[in-house]
């Protein structure tokens, strides 16, 4: 499982799209089923648009990064949302000196 630990330790999941009932529930259910722990979560709805960002720890997940990313994207497509899964460093490097 070392590969999962390497790439899944701190991952940022962003969810963007038109607001609807159950977005958080569906996303969290998927994460719980895959043993992915949520470290931080923030969300806002502006003009009917839902924006959410989660910081998660996926080091105990048995699936690889690519598969989790693809499954979350698919889950999002099913409910008209864009769900992206990215390693946290890109955000940290860009916004912190």
């Amino acid at each position: 499982m070392w590969y999962n630990i390497r790439v899944m330790k701190k991952v940022i999941i962003t969810v963007v799209g038109r607001d609807t009932v159950g977005i958080l529930a569906k996303t969290c259910t998927y994460l719980a089923r895959n043993n992915i722990n949520i470290l931080d979560i923030s969300q806002t709805v502006v003009g009917g648009y839902f924006n959410m960002m989660m910081i998660v720890d996926g080091s105990k997940c048995r699936k690889g990064f690519d598969r989790v990313g693809a499954e979350l994207a698919e889950l999002g497509n099913g409910i008209g949302l864009r769900i992206r899964c990215q390693k946290s460093e890109i955000f940290e490097k860009m916004h912190r000196v």
Binding site: M53, I55, R84, I90, H95
Partner: protein, 455 residues
């Protein structure tokens, strides 16, 4: 901890403003591949490139997926081929064998370009340099992915006008040899002054002799991001705020490049070389340096004030980017290719932008007259004259300048040329009809300028 608005900003840059890492380029030294037989040298070259860079495409794609940022190009640059082939190539066609070997290696790796079919002749040409230069038309016509460059001058050495004269003829011949594809060969051929050893961008990339055995260089991009920020926060503001905004944006863009470069270096087991801080446009709408100039306040690039606006932009990109990366090099600055930037194409079509104005713009930005289509009837001497002018700007201003000009066989001013993909399309531009033939016919070199004597 990253907050929601920062998270969304990063993704907006990537998804809506075309933020990408333009290229991961692995520089590979081929000095140890040289032998006395052309075939053995070619075998060594193929083996070394395909061994060292075998994972470059997969690594680039993996990093892109994990960080969620597109890494558009994965490429390789090599030691100038004139040096590698000097011990075995006796005729131009021997060098063409090396070009074909490079093309095969590029195809095997799945990369779109390989750079370094080059000669550095800033003071004079060795017989091998001249053979390589004379082989360029055949090499460009018979390969798909090989890029060629010739460095004809530097601040330290002056300008080799014999090489400049020869390159005018070679550019014309390359256009003729690839006339069935709108003279596409010339889009893969660039003539430079003060060429850097670590440039990751094509067509001028080569792995200089000052470099180690292998190195990873990364070119960042992101004109769309700068344009978006200026459009949304800087309309009507003073120059101080305008410059600060560009600087901060350049910092963010470059940090992504730095992250990708370090990851690529670690995974490929090859040292990190430099980040090239460049605003490199693509033909995609919204990915244009010209649009930034318009956002600064010009009706079209080419209007009075363009050179000042570009100088400002170029300087702020460097100031923001330098802080974001541990090593900066390559060309580093705003690129102003015509065919690869929709805003530039529009400016030419509107009659706002001429070759003379572009020449002025190259005094204050990287790199030079880039991807400019001119009539096929343009004489070799005129092309040499244009090259000499650019080289003089580079030599005197201690900066890199370049000419990538395409005298499109059979086309006239105003007609359109389609290069395809990232190379884009361009209107054929007007060239001065006055002759420089007698000057170009002179032999020898232009001496180095007085301010190059620093010892």
């Amino acid at each position: 901890m990253i907050n929601l608005s920062e998270g969304l900003e990063t993704n907006r840059m990537i998804l809506e403003e075309n933020l990408d890492v333009r290229t991961i380029t692995m520089g590979i030294s081929l000095l140890d591949c040289a032998e006395s037989s052309v075939d053995r040298t070619c075998r060594n070259i193929y083996a070394k490139i395909t061994r060292l860079a075998k994972d470059i495409v997969k690594t680039g794609d993996d990093i892109g997926r994990e960080f969620g940022v597109p890494i558009v190009n994965k490429r390789v640059s090599i030691t100038p081929a004139a040096i590698v082939g000097a011990s075995c190539c006796r005729r131009p066609r021997d060098f063409v064998k090396i070009a074909r070997t490079l093309d095969r290696a590029a195809k095997k790796l799945g990369i779109n370009f390989i750079g370094g079919y080059s000669a550095v002749v800033s003071k004079g040409m060795t017989p091998a340099d001249e053979l390589l230069i004379r082989s360029i038309p055949e090499a460009m016509a018979s390969t798909e992915r090989v890029c060629s460059s010739v460095n004809v001058g530097s601040t330290k050495t002056g300008i080799d006008m014999d090489a400049v004269r020869l390159m005018g003829e070679i550019v014309k011949e390359t256009a003729e040899r690839t006339k069935d594809r709108d003279s596409l060969g010339c889009a893969k051929l660039v003539v430079l002054c003060n060429a850097p050893d670590d440039n990751p961008f094509m067509a001028g990339a080569f792995h200089g002799v000052s470099e180690g055995d292998a190195v990873v260089n990364v070119g960042v991009s992101g004109p769309g991001v700068v344009n978006y920020v200026l459009r949304n926060t800087c309309r009507g503001v003073g120059f101080e705020e305008l410059c600060e905004t560009i600087k901060k944006t350049a910092f963010k863009i470059t940090r992504v490049g730095q992250l990708v470069a370090q990851e690529a270096s670690k995974r490929l087991g090859v040292p990190f070389g430099i980040i090239d801080l460049s605003l490199a446009p693509t033909p995609a709408v919204g990915d244009s340096v010209a649009d930034i100039l318009k956002e600064i306040g010009l009706e079209h690039p080419g209007a009075p004030g363009t050179t000042a606006a570009l100088a400002l932009l170029n300087d702020q990109v460097k100031k923001g980017g330098v802080m974001a990366s541990s090593y900066v090099g390559g060309l580093s600055g705003a690129f102003i290719p015509v065919s690869e930037d929709q805003g530039m194409i529009d400016a030419v079509n509107a009659g706002a932008l001429t070759i003379e104005k572009l020449e002025a713009m190259t005094c204050v930005c990287s790199v030079g007259l880039d991807m400019i289509a001119v009539p096929g009837s343009t004489s070799a001497a005129t092309i040499s004259g244009i090259i000499a002018d650019e080289a003089a700007i580079g030599m005197v201003n201690q900066k890199t300048t370049a000419v990538r000009i395409i005298p499109v066989a059979g086309k006239r001013v105003g007609e359109k040329v389609e290069f395809g993909g990232l190379l884009g399309h361009a209107p054929v531009m007007r060239v001065s009809k006055f002759s420089c033939e007698k000057m170009i016919a002179r032999r020898g070199r232009i001496p180095a300028p007085i301010h190059s004597f620093k010892n």
